[in-house]
Symmetry: C2
Subunit: 558 residues, 2 copies
């Protein structure tokens, strides 16, 4: 599985820019499924369709600073989007289904993130029936506009037709975001034909119903109004976007090499060793300190280049390397250089659209880590640069091990491992629960968080980091190898499912948001339902859909 | 399955009262398992053990007003409690495991409820190893005191030994209640041997480690200190408890009859028709308006009698009638009499310990409904008394149908159906999310909630209730029968698993608490893990435990 694409390669979407407004039109190629076995009828999607959508949302943010509103609509008559393709779901393995849902959820959260933080407001121009994942895509938009053509509806038919949940945020966004009453949500989510017209508005399922003859005009009006509210540079500001060229990547059986990120697979031990190279590494051009130079560097600018590579690596590992259950995360580089990223964010993310984008992109990639069903372990060793923003990588891990002092075998020179706290660790990159990883780590203990703020900027060695609660353990060179080896062996011996459930529970503490509910509650229920015979068995609803035979259910309620 | 018991029938617990302090000692009878196939070794438990614990917690609240602190400890040397019996789990069906976990979770939440609202503070005197569910029981107590005997530990060995989660609140309470750092929680929950001594205190897993020679003395001290802080009547106040006699119940194949609650089974349609009879029914003694008379009536007092019956019915239906997937809930009685319950609560629950207990008991029973994996539908018909507290029964449902007007067939006399809002609907009986069912229903719409407050006390007919958003629909007599019939048929045709997941997502909106996380997130993950071969398959960890053979895992991470 590859996540590479770009607009000239899209098979399922067209992206048109009209001044401040972008139009993303879904026009699924029936024969363009990612794997054989299904036809993508009625604008239904598989992962390939969603990879293009993700690519489009990213390029809109980075390459089109003048775009202030994005209209998602369909190029097919009377069919906005029928959601995830059922035959694809029916034939897919459980891990594939779960991973597919995770990615589509992340893309939809990204759409909301663009609306909230990029000044690119998404509107769903539902010009045909939006069913299941199709309506869930609309739910991720700030406004849902439905055509009044006496036939187009919005619907969540998953429960009645497929025996699964609207798991791409549907159940959650209905009640949490659109604040539909639970009894109406119950009626709606069990009514396969959906709702339209006045009732859809009254129930808050859509914001507006627009007569067919006024459709184009009203959509343009609503988009223009959204664009007018955007803090993004105006279309005539002369701001120019940056290109996102294809990533350079070398893949072998043993790993993946990017320019700033490296992954080595250890299949015997079931682990991946990931190293992020700091900005002092070769080819980074350092981290410049003027906005002009940052724009000039564009995708070469280390923070962005590294973030893109890390994003790609996470997606590839999640999709392709299911048995590599532990990710060891290291950094290599100069602490001071790493802090330069920090300073750029602090200085420009409030004023420069590109630096703002990079900040939020790194935030989203960190969030991907938070919901990755792999055991994450940070190894903080001499020569590492877990400082500021990069320290977030360690804090996202389930555990952090830091070498106290140097290895005494003489192989190493220089300083012992050090970490540095900065503003980045206190709110620049919030988790899905809306608070920082440190605030989550010390949930309910504001005193410690305040104390840690005092430490910002200071280099902390292993003993200090341990004392401050920033690392799980800080063995010295005598114990290091054994402790890490035993920890990894133990991890590899545990049930992969139990680890997934345990980590999902531990990683989110404190406040809950729509996002944590989608990943923590909705997805957990969906995982369960996906493996149940009532959905996935030979006689289950997913398999029987479209065969003309009704599903047969084990009627016991659990 | 019956949930009846009383202290003289306990096989696994002893309950001793010493003035203000009660001692609940776990002494599991190895041969006292609820069903054949396992021995309850090492103070491990099955549902039968937990039914006794639930009974004890209830009796402590109602029969022992002078008890202000409860010490949970073990009568067995060096063994506090080993948690849920593994062989029992391994041999149990999936629905049984899930239902067992739900009940044990409710009991532990009840322990926290007693500490918070009854002035009965629970202390765990961990005088031996507390493993898995044993430690989770301790986690439900306000304080965890661990004996320092150089061997006793606290541990959550589920993940490493059994391939399942500590699903009785363990993962949640560790991070949310005891605020253990997530990396430490990760270490702890993967370390089968657990922790003890200073480290257990430093990690906040226990509050205190007490040397063996000071054990009795210190426990008594800590309990006395907790008792001293209690708002419950002092031991010398002369307050006397009330007895909770065995429930009167007639069971047939077609239903269960209590005095104030009736259930009729319709096995063809997969539904139960539940009727709660209001205080005007036969044998209720009405609802008196003096505290003295309430105490005199004791368990005969209608609100308490009805609540006990409803509690028992919910538990029995959940355990015994898995295929009855829809519960239709009705009330019968006089609206004015129902409001008398209301007035008693409003007037005395702040000052009288017994009325306070009844209020919180009804709250807990409503919470059981909220997490019941059945479709709940309220039918509000002429002659019903969904007023105030009883209206909560309707609001707990997934849908509410109210007849607008009377049935025109002339069979009925009197008034059309009416409902009445009261203070009870605005915070007296909060859901697990900490807010009222109305605030959940209208989450984010404070204006509507404020408007509804203005309506308190007024009798609302079907049309008004519909207009105010209090019911899902209000058909008139022409449509009523068809609409209800079709709705029930549709419900019965849906996947039971999808309904469970959907309802669990819809019922909780807005704020999250430890309880909602336990039921919504932890339990959902556990449900999934329970059905996975890695846990429950022939080669899974649950089945292989104790056989000397290691589990074999599908190593793919999902």
């Amino acid at each position: 599985m590859s996540f590479d694409t770009s607009p000239e390669h899209y098979r399922h979407w067209t992206l048109d820019i009209d001044g401040e407004i972008a139009y993303l039109r879904l026009d699924v190629d029936e024969n363009g499924g990612l794997v054989p076995g299904y036809e993508l009828k009625m604008n239904s999607y598989d992962l390939g369709v969603d990879i293009e959508l993700y690519d489009a949302t990213q390029r809109l943010r980075f390459s089109h600073p003048a775009v202030r509103a994005v209209v998602i609509t369909s190029a097919k008559d009377r069919n906005f989007c029928a959601g995830a393709n059922i035959r694809m779901l029916a034939q897919s393995s459980h891990p594939w289904k779960v991973n597919f849902c995770k990615f589509t959820n992340e893309t939809r959260n990204g759409i909301e993130d663009a609306t909230a933080h990029s000044g690119q407001t998404y509107l769903a121009a539902v010009n045909g029936t939006a069913a299941g994942g199709g309506y869930e895509l609309a739910l991720a938009c700030e406004q849902i506009l439905l055509i009044d053509d006496n036939s187009s509806t919005v619907a969540l038919p998953e429960v009645p037709l497929l025996g699964v949940l609207p798991g791409t945020g549907g159940l959650t966004r209905i009640i949490d975001k659109r604040r539909v009453r639970k009894d109406r949500a119950d009626v709606f989510a069990t009514k396969s034909e959906g709702l339209r017209g006045r009732q859809a508005v009254e129930w808050r399922l859509v914001d507006e119903v627009i007569p067919k003859r006024l459709w184009q005009e009203k959509i343009a009006e609503r988009a223009a109004a959204a664009a007018a509210r955007s803090p993004r540079p105006a279309a005539d500001s002369g701001a120019s976007g940056i290109e996102l060229p294809p990533l350079q990547r070398t893949e072998t059986d043993d790993g993946i090499d990017y320019r700033h990120v490296r992954a080595r697979f250890d299949r015997d031990q079931g682990l991946v060793e990931i190293t992020v190279f700091g900005p002092s590494g070769p080819g980074t051009n350092g981290v410049p300190d003027t906005v002009e130079r940052i724009h000039e560097l564009g995708a070469e600018f280390w923070p962005l280049a590294m973030t893109r590579e890390l994003d790609d690596l996470i997606l590839r590992l999640r999709a392709n390397e299911l048995e590599l259950g532990t990710w060891l995360i290291r950094t290599t580089g100069d602490v001071e250089d790493a802090m330069a990223f920090e300073r750029v964010i602090a200085q420009f993310s409030g004023t420069d659209w590109l630096v703002n984008e990079i900040r939020h992109y790194f935030k989203r990639v960190l969030k991907r880590l938070d919901v990755t069903s792999r055991s994450l372990v940070a190894l903080i060793e001499p020569g590492s640069c877990f400082a500021g923003a990069l320290l977030e990588l360690a804090l996202a891990c389930d555990r952090q091990y830091m070498l106290d002092g140097l290895m005494e075998d003489g192989a190493e020179e220089g300083e012992p491992a050090q970490i540095v706290l900065s503003d980045s660790n206190f709110g620049t990159f919030p988790m899905s629960n809306g608070i920082s990883r440190l605030a989550s780590r010390f949930w309910g203990d504001e005193e410690t968080v305040a104390k840690l703020r005092q430490e910002a900027g200071r280099r902390l060695d292993g003993a200090e980091a341990l004392e401050l609660g920033l690392v799980t353990d800080a063995p010295d060179d005598i114990d290091w190898d054994d402790e890490i080896r035993i920890m990894l062996e133990e991890r590899a011996s545990l049930s992969p499912d139990a680890l997934t459930g345990m980590e999902a529970n531990h990683r989110f503490v404190g406040p809950e948001t729509m996002e944590t509910r989608i990943f923590g509650r909705l997805s957990a229920w969906q995982n369960w339902i996906f493996v149940r015979p009532n959905a996935s068995g030979e006689e289950g609803a997913l398999r029987r859909f479209g065969t003309g035979r009704r599903a047969e259910f084990d009627r016991r309620r659990v």
